[in-house]
C-alpha cells in the first residue's frame, strides 16, 4: 500500500493547509475498518445469490426483491446518520453503531431460513451501512488538513475497495475448501467484522467535531447544511447523477454485446474495482491540486467515454476492458472527491449532514436514472439508450461545471 501506519500521523495537530506526504492515522485506521468490514460484507454478498437459490431455495426473482429493499433502506438512513453524528457531535459512536449493527447481522444469517428472515437480516446490514457512512466521512474530513482532503478520501476509498476485492476471494476459497459450508462463510465474516469494529472502537480517536459546547439543534444543523454553495453543489451532483447509468446496466450492455462479457459477468465488477483501487489515491491527490469540483466534472467525462465504449457495436475484450477502466476512473474521480468537496462547503458542525445530503442526492438521482434508462432500453434498444444518455451527459457536464464554478473559492 501507499500508506502505512508506520508513517507518523499527520493527525489533528498538523497545521491546516500544509502539504504533507503523510495521511492522518485516523484516516488510515478508518480505511482499515472499512477494509475489514468490506471483506466481511462482500464475503456474504458474493455467496448470497447462490446460498439463497441453491441452499434455501428462494427464487432469484425474490432475491432481486431483497436487494431492492436494502438499497432503499440504505438511502433513507444515511441522512439520519449524518444528522445524528453532527447533533451528538460524536460521529465516531454513530459510525460504531452502524458497523456494530452490520456485524451482528452476520451470525443471524445462520438462523435465517425463510424469505422474511433473510430480508430482515439483509435489511439490518444495509441499515448499519447507511447509518455509518456519513459520520465516518465526517471523521475523515475532520482529521485531514483541508489541502489534502482529496487524498485522504482517496486513501480511504482505496482501502475500502481493496476489502471489497478480498471478500469474494476469501468466501470462494472457503467454499472451495469446505463445499457448501455457507455457515462457515458467515462465521468467518462475522469474525472479520468484529475485528474491524474493534479497530474502530479501540483506536480511532473519539473526536468532538464542531466548536462550542452546546449541542447544536437539528434545525441549526440542517440550516447550516443548506447553505447556497452546498445547494449549488447538490444541484450539480443531482444533475450528473440523473444521467449516471448504474454500472450494472453497463455490464448488462457489455454482456448483450458479446459472450466474452457474458461468461465473465461476475469478473466485470472486479475489473472496475481494480481500476478504482489503483486510481483512487492519485486522482484524490490530483483533485487537491486542481480542485475537487473540477475533478468531479472530469470524472463524468470518463463516464461519458465509458458509455460510448459500451455503446459501440464492436465487441471483444479490448472494448470491455476500456469500459471497465473508464468506469473505475469515474468512481475514483467522483465518490471520495464529492465527499471531500462537500466537507469544505459546510461549517464544521454540519459536515456529516452535508456529506449525507450529497450522497443521498446522488443515490436518489441514480435510482431515477436507472428507472429511466431501463424504460428507454426497452422502448428504443440498448444502443440508442446509451447514446441518448451520452448526449444528455455531454450537455450536463458543462452545466454542472457552470454550477460548480468558483464554489471552492468563496471560503
Amino acid at each position: 500500500m501507499y500508506v502505512s501506519v508506520r508513517d507518523r500521523p499527520a493527525g489533528p495537530d498538523e497545521a491546516p493547509g500544509r502539504r504533507s506526504r503523510r495521511v492522518a492515522t485516523t484516516v488510515v485506521l478508518l480505511g482499515v475498518v472499512s477494509l475489514l468490514t468490506d471483506v466481511s460484507s462482500e464475503m456474504v454478498s458474493a455467496v448470497l445469490p447462490l446460498y439463497l437459490t441453491a441452499e434455501i431455495g428462494i427464487g432469484l426473482l425474490a432475491y432481486g426483491f431483497v436487494d431492492g429493499v436494502y438499497q432503499g433502506v440504505s438511502a433513507f438512513v444515511r441522512i439520519l446518520g449524518g444528522v445524528a453524528g453532527d447533533r451528538g457531535r460524536r460521529p465516531k459512536w454513530v459510525a460504531a453503531l452502524g458497523y456494530g449493527i452490520s456485524a451482528v447481522s452476520r451470525p443471524l444469517m445462520l438462523a435465517a431460513n425463510g424469505m422474511a428472515a433473510v430480508t430482515a437480516v439483509v435489511t439490518a446490514d444495509r441499515l448499519g451501512k447507511g447509518l455509518r457512512t456519513a459520520p465516518r466521512d465526517a471523521l475523515i474530513a475532520d482529521a485531514s488538513p483541508p489541502g489534502a482532503l482529496g487524498r485522504s478520501f482517496g486513501v480511504h476509498r482505496a482501502l475500502d475497495t481493496l476489502g471489497a476485492a478480498i471478500g469474494p476471494i476469501a468466501a470462494f476459497a472457503l467454499l472451495a475448501a469446505l463445499p457448501r459450508a455457507y455457515d462457515a462463510v458467515f462465521v468467518v465474516s462475522f469474525a472479520v467484522a468484529l475485528v474491524g469494529l474493534a479497530v474502530l472502537v479501540l483506536f480511532v480517536p473519539d473526536r468532538r467535531v464542531g466548536a462550542g459546547t452546546a449541542r447544536p439543534a437539528v434545525r441549526e444543523v440542517l440550516r447550516a447544511a443548506a447553505g447556497p454553495r452546498l445547494r449549488r453543489t447538490l444541484l450539480a451532483a443531482g444533475l450528473l447523477g440523473v444521467l449516471t447509468v448504474g454500472d450494472g446496466f453497463l455490464y448488462l450492455s457489455l454482456q448483450h454485446r458479446d459472450d466474452f462479457a457474458a461468461m465473465l459477468f461476475p469478473l466485470l465488477y472486479v475489473g472496475t474495482n481494480v481500476a478504482y483501487l489503483a486510481l483512487a489515491v492519485p486522482l484524490g491527490r490530483l483533485a487537491d491540486r486542481i480542485g475537487r469540483a473540477r475533478m468531479l466534472v472530469a470524472g463524468h467525462v470518463a463516464l461519458l467515454l465509458a458509455y460510448l465504449c459500451a455503446a459501440g457495436s464492436a465487441g471483444g475484450p479490448v472494448w470491455t476492458v476500456h469500459t471497465l477502466v473508464l468506469l473505475g476512473t469515474f468512481y475514483a474521480a467522483s465518490d471520495g472527491v464529492l465527499a471531500a468537496l462537500v466537507s469544505r462547503l459546510v461549517p464544521a458542525h454540519a459536515k456529516g449532514t452535508g456529506i449525507a445530503a450529497a450522497q443521498t442526492v446522488v443515490v436518489l438521482a441514480r435510482f431515477a436514472s436507472s428507472v429511466a434508462f431501463g424504460a428507454l432500453w426497452v422502448a428504443a434498444g440498448r444502443q440508442p439508450a446509451l447514446l441518448g444518455f451520452a448526449v444528455a451527459l455531454a450537455l450536463a457536464i458543462p452545466a454542472a461545471g457552470w454550477l460548480l464554478r468558483r464554489v471552492e473559492e468563496e471560503r
Partner: protein, 326 residues
C-alpha cells in the same frame, strides 16, 4: 495515550477470540461433514443399477448431509423410499434413459457454470460453459436435443420483477447451441421485436418443433418453435405467467406420443391459468411410466411478477446503482 497499552491488549484479545472462534467452528464443521466433497467420478453406487432398471424418478437430492446436491433415483412406486445416490452432483438435472443433462456451478473467484451431459454411468461424456445461474435443463424424449435455461444477469444488482433468461437449444453434447431469444417471435402474425423478450420452459416435440413460454412487455405466450425456421409462433396468450413450466411431467421414453397443443400433454393445456394452481395431469395422458424418468420440479422459475411491474420492467435487472464505500 496512556490507555494505549490497554487498548492494544483488548484488541489482541478480540482478535484472538475471533480467530479461536473461527477455528473451533471450522473444526467442528469439518468433523461434522467428513466427506464434504462428492467422490468425483466414483463408481456407481451399487444401489443405483437395480433402481434404474425399472421405472424410476431421477431427482436432485436436497436433503441435508452428504447427499446434498447429488443426483439420486427412487423407484416410481416407492417415491418416499430410500434413495440411491449417483456420483453426479448437479444444480439442475433432467434425464431420459441412458442420458442426463446436468447444470453445475463451479465456485471460484467468479463462479462459472457448466452444462454436462452424463452417460449411462452418470459420468460426464461432454461439457461446456453456460452463462448465468442454472434455472432449467431439458432433454428431448430420445435425448438427442438439449435445452438449458439460465438467469443471465441474475446478480446482486437485480431489481424486483426484473430478470432475464438465456435459453439455449441444440444437439445434445454439441458445441454450438443456439439462443432461442434470437428466433423471430410472431404474435398474431406480427413479429415482436422488443428487446425484453425472454423464452423459457422448452419442451421438445420432435427433432424440429418444440414448445416454450415467451414473454415480452409483461405478457406471456405459449409458443411453438421451429429450429429449422428459427421462429417462435404464439399459440395462445397465458393470462399470467405460470408459476412453473410443467416440469413435473414425465417426459418420456422413445416410443410415446409427442406433445400436441390441446392434446393433453402440451404445455398449453396443462399450464394453469392462474399462477398458483398446480399443474394438472392431463386426463388422457400420453405418457406412461414404464421406463421413464422424471425430473425434479423446478425452482427459481422465471418471473411471475414481471407482469405486474410494467413501469420498470426491462430486460435489465439493475435499477439500483452500485454503492461505493461502506
Amino acid at each position: 495515550m496512556s490507555g494505549l497499552r490497554l487498548r492494544v491488549g483488548v484488541f489482541a484479545g478480540v482478535v484472538l477470540l475471533a480467530v479461536a472462534g473461527v477455528v473451533v467452528y471450522l473444526r467442528q464443521a469439518v468433523t461434522a461433514d467428513p466427506d464434504g466433497h462428492t467422490p468425483a467420478a466414483a463408481s456407481v453406487d451399487t444401489g443405483v443399477a437395480p433402481v434404474v432398471a425399472g421405472a424410476h424418478v431421477v431427482f436432485r437430492s436436497t436433503a441435508p448431509g452428504d447427499g446434498y446436491g447429488r443426483v439420486a433415483v427412487v423407484p416410481v412406486d416407492a417415491p418416499s423410499g430410500p434413495r440411491a445416490f449417483t456420483p453426479a452432483s448437479c444444480e439442475r438435472v433432467h434425464a431420459v434413459r441412458g442420458t442426463a443433462v446436468c447444470l453445475v456451478a463451479l465456485r471460484g473467484l467468479a463462479t462459472t457454470y457448466r452444462v454436462k451431459i452424463l452417460g449411462p454411468q452418470w459420468t460426464p461424456v461432454s461439457e461446456r460453459a453456460v452463462p448465468g445461474l442454472p434455472s432449467r435443463a431439458r432433454l428431448s424424449s430420445d435425448g438427442a436435443l438439449t435445452a438449458t435455461t439460465t438467469f443471465v444477469y441474475g446478480d446482486s444488482y437485480a431489481s424486483p420483477g426484473q430478470f432475464s433468461t438465456r435459453t439455449l437449444i441444440g444437439p445434445t453434447g454439441g458445441a454450438d447451441p443456439v439462443d432461442v431469444e434470437q428466433f423471430t417471435l410472431r404474435v398474431d402474425g406480427r413479429p415482436v421485436t422488443a428487446v425484453d423478450r425472454n423464452v423459457w420452459g422448452v419442451t421438445f416435440a420432435d427433432d424440429d418443433r418444440f414448445y416454450a413460454t415467451a414473454a415480452s412487455g409483461g405478457r406471456t405466450w405459449l409458443v411453438e418453435g421451429s429450429r429449422s425456421g428459427r421462429t417462435l409462433t404464439a399459440l395462445r396468450r397465458t393470462s399470467s405467467a405460470p408459476r412453473c413450466p410443467p416440469t413435473a411431467r414425465a417426459s418420456r421414453s422413445r416410443n410415446t406420443a409427442t406433445c400436441r397443443p390441446g392434446g393433453g400433454a402440451s404445455p398449453s393445456s396443462t399450464w394453469p391459468a392462474g399462477g398458483r394452481h398446480r399443474w394438472r395431469r392431463p386426463a388422457a395422458s400420453t405418457t406412461r411410466r414404464s421406463g421413464s424418468t422424471t425430473t425434479r420440479s423446478c425452482t427459481g422459475c422465471p418471473a411471475t411478477r414481471t407482469a405486474r411491474r410494467r413501469a420498470t420492467s426491462g430486460p435489465c435487472p439493475p435499477t439500483a446503482p452500485a454503492h461505493r464505500g461502506s
